[in-house]
Symmetry: C2
Subunit: 404 residues, 2 copies
């Protein structure tokens, strides 16, 4: 039997370059079904639902929706609120009042857990209701998925950043440490490896949260590479930890926690600067620089993977199809079926919610300071078409005459 | 009378996205003249000349040169050395030994001063020799020029960064401080204003080195904007100074100086973090973030202005034409002749060398915390074609039912 009523779409957590593709996919697909009376967008994520702040996207033009789809960051705005049972009761009061029967929540693992709670509450109270989690995270750390929408575009930004900084570091040699986002999973930091085109190209070293960070080993790695290449470009994940699981950064400064209890690691240059100081002091190297990619990697406009755009659109469409056609709940997951082809499935929320996928061992080299070819083979098709290339001069060297 | 001999091209200072366009323009144009016996590239700037490290670019394929032209950063590598009279004597020994009669140096104001010294030394010693400075700097601070190659692409990167971070800040509101390169001139920081599309778009405040920075005024500006918009995005130049001309950063930490005596301001997040701490402490605001754009703004691959590419190519070609056809010395300068059209002239090195152009008063608002429309009108045609646009949802708000 068809479930008649309204749809609410919301966006949670940090923005990505393609999160609006999923929004527009879910909205346009939902608008096709006659049993859908209206399609609302919640302004400001779950908080917007509690506060009854909705935008009627049934009345938005298709043309403008398509323009929003190619705009990065969450067009409906987002929230860092993490709803508990009581919070979800408030949400249901609003859903009942507005006759909302379908809920699509675009977000990462915290958001999928919210969908799980909302769903279980609907079941308990006997309110006929479908809720689907639409995957999104630049961290690429959702279980079951081959990869998650938002990651390919962020990875492309990181790859292009390192391609450029590698050329910069080659022109003016020194040690350059670049800190990349990723609290637990190293996928985004690992994307820097795409810049390794010629054997002397950086990043020469890549440090991931999946491997215990040892300062002595780090310093000897840097010395080896600097001796070999006369320079050293290093990719470091913001979430690197020592062997006891203590974040290297949290030992260095007072930290801030968000509503989920997560340490706030982005937006600070402290980790890079501390590592740079160690290299200067312990190795006696002079030209040592650090940069922290910061918020640019999740919101830079004009650096996007077309593969990512297409898939983000489709997971939004699929959510509407599963909920409205098939009347089922869950999380949309992406599965690689060829090189390169994907398929979408509906997976139980319990398999996704509040869990974290890390880099598999096959993607990390034995020394724990770089990635493997298996990883770059995995990543390359996700980056999309038109990746820039770096060319270098290959003319012969002129023999010296004065030969000092 | 035709001056027969070799050409040497070199690249100085920090890389830009289009510095290789100028290299390739000078090389290809030089190769057309029969009196040019060979075209050498100096590896590592002036240091490479002293060390006799040349690459024979006469033997490089045109096809590969074209690929290098669209690759950012200095393909010949660069140097931070600042030659004095003695250093230049060493250079002349090498030039004489290799029969070098033409020297093209691509760089900023320090590089133009080097060309001036080399030129004067040639005159004094009666060595028949032509030296031309080809302009390049992301800081846009060369005298006489309407703008300088490298600036438009870096400005585009800054503009696209702020467009994205503005959307991010809108989705998850708070105070966000972004630190942009620019030691003395605010042109690059000012480019952030391109993100100001709707009246509530950031950056809401822009602080430039051309105006004395006052902490109290800054804090009251931030409060005003945060009260008005519920958020505040701020662009700050790394080179902001107090009314005594003391860099705000240098009062905060130990700094490093390069061979030119310049304080090393890039590659550190200290300025942004210090300002963020002030906002947190003095205004009691909680979600305050800072990012430092760092080296990405001069070397990011895949964000370039096609206008900048074209002009960078032409100043390289013009250098070869002036020197080889017209047998004159100087600095190539860019002059705006329409909206939008430019012409190139040869200007005396004494008008360019070691001087710094700042933002004109007409480009800065009265309060000294934003730019004027005159500035954005100046900048817009330089950014080139295909600038991304940010769209927002415009659907009607749904009336509340529970109306809490």
């Amino acid at each position: 039997m068809e479930l008649r009523g309204k749809v609410v779409v919301a966006q949670g957590g940090g923005p990505t370059a393609v999160i609006n593709q999923s929004l527009v996919g879910a909205v346009l697909e939902s608008r096709k079904f006659p049993q859908i009376t209206q399609v609302y967008g919640a302004i400001g994520g779950m908080r917007g639902i509690v506060d009854e702040r909705f935008m009627d996207l049934t009345q938005e033009t298709t043309h403008n929706l398509e323009r929003v789809a190619v705009t990065p960051s969450s067009a409906l705005s987002s929230t860092r609120d993490k709803p508990d049972e009581k919070y979800c009761e408030e949400i249901f009061k609003v859903f009942r009042a507005h006759d909302v029967r379908y809920f699509f929540y675009i977000g990462g693992n915290d958001s999928s857990d919210t969908v799980r709670i909302v769903n279980e509450q609907a079941e308990r109270t006997g309110y006929e209701f479908r809720a689907i989690h639409i995957p999104k995270t630049i961290d690429n750390d959702l279980m079951v998925n081959d990869h998650t929408p938002g990651y390919p575009s962020a990875a492309r930004f990181v790859a292009q950043s390192f391609m450029g900084v590698n050329l910069d570091n080659r022109a003016l040699p020194g040690v350059h440490i670049m800190v990349v986002m990723g609290r637990h999973a190293g996928f985004l930091t690992a994307a820097s490896a795409i810049a390794q085109s010629s054997p002397d190209d950086g990043p020469h070293l890549i440090y991931l949260p999946e491997r215990a960070f040892e300062m002595d080993k780090f310093l000897s790695d840097v010395k080896t590479m600097h001796d070999r290449h006369g320079r050293c470009l290093i990719a470091v994940s913001e979430g690197i930890q020592d062997k006891h699981g203590v974040p290297v950064l949290s030992t260095l400064m007072e930290t801030e926690r968000d509503a989920h209890g997560n340490v706030q690691l982005s937006g600070t240059g402290a980790l890079g600067e501390q590592l740079a100081n160690q290299v200067k002091e312990k190795l006696g190297l002079k030209r040592v620089r650090s940069d922290t990619l910061g918020y640019l990697q999740r919101s830079f406009i004009g650096c996007v993977s077309d593969v990512d755009q297409r898939e983000a659109r489709e997971v939004g469409e699929k959510a509407a199809q599963y909920a409205i056609w098939h009347n089922v709940d869950g999380s949309i997951t992406i599965h690689r079926t060829g090189n390169y082809a994907v398929d979408y499935q509906l997976t139980s929320l319990r398999e996704i919610a509040a869990k974290t996928r890390l880099m598999p061992d096959a993607f990390i080299n034995k020394a724990g300071n770089n990635v493997t070819e298996a990883f770059t083979n995995y990543l390359r098709p996700l980056l999309g078409s038109g990746m820039p290339e770096a060319a270098r001069l290959r003319a012969p060297i002129v023999p010296a005459i004065l030969a000092k």
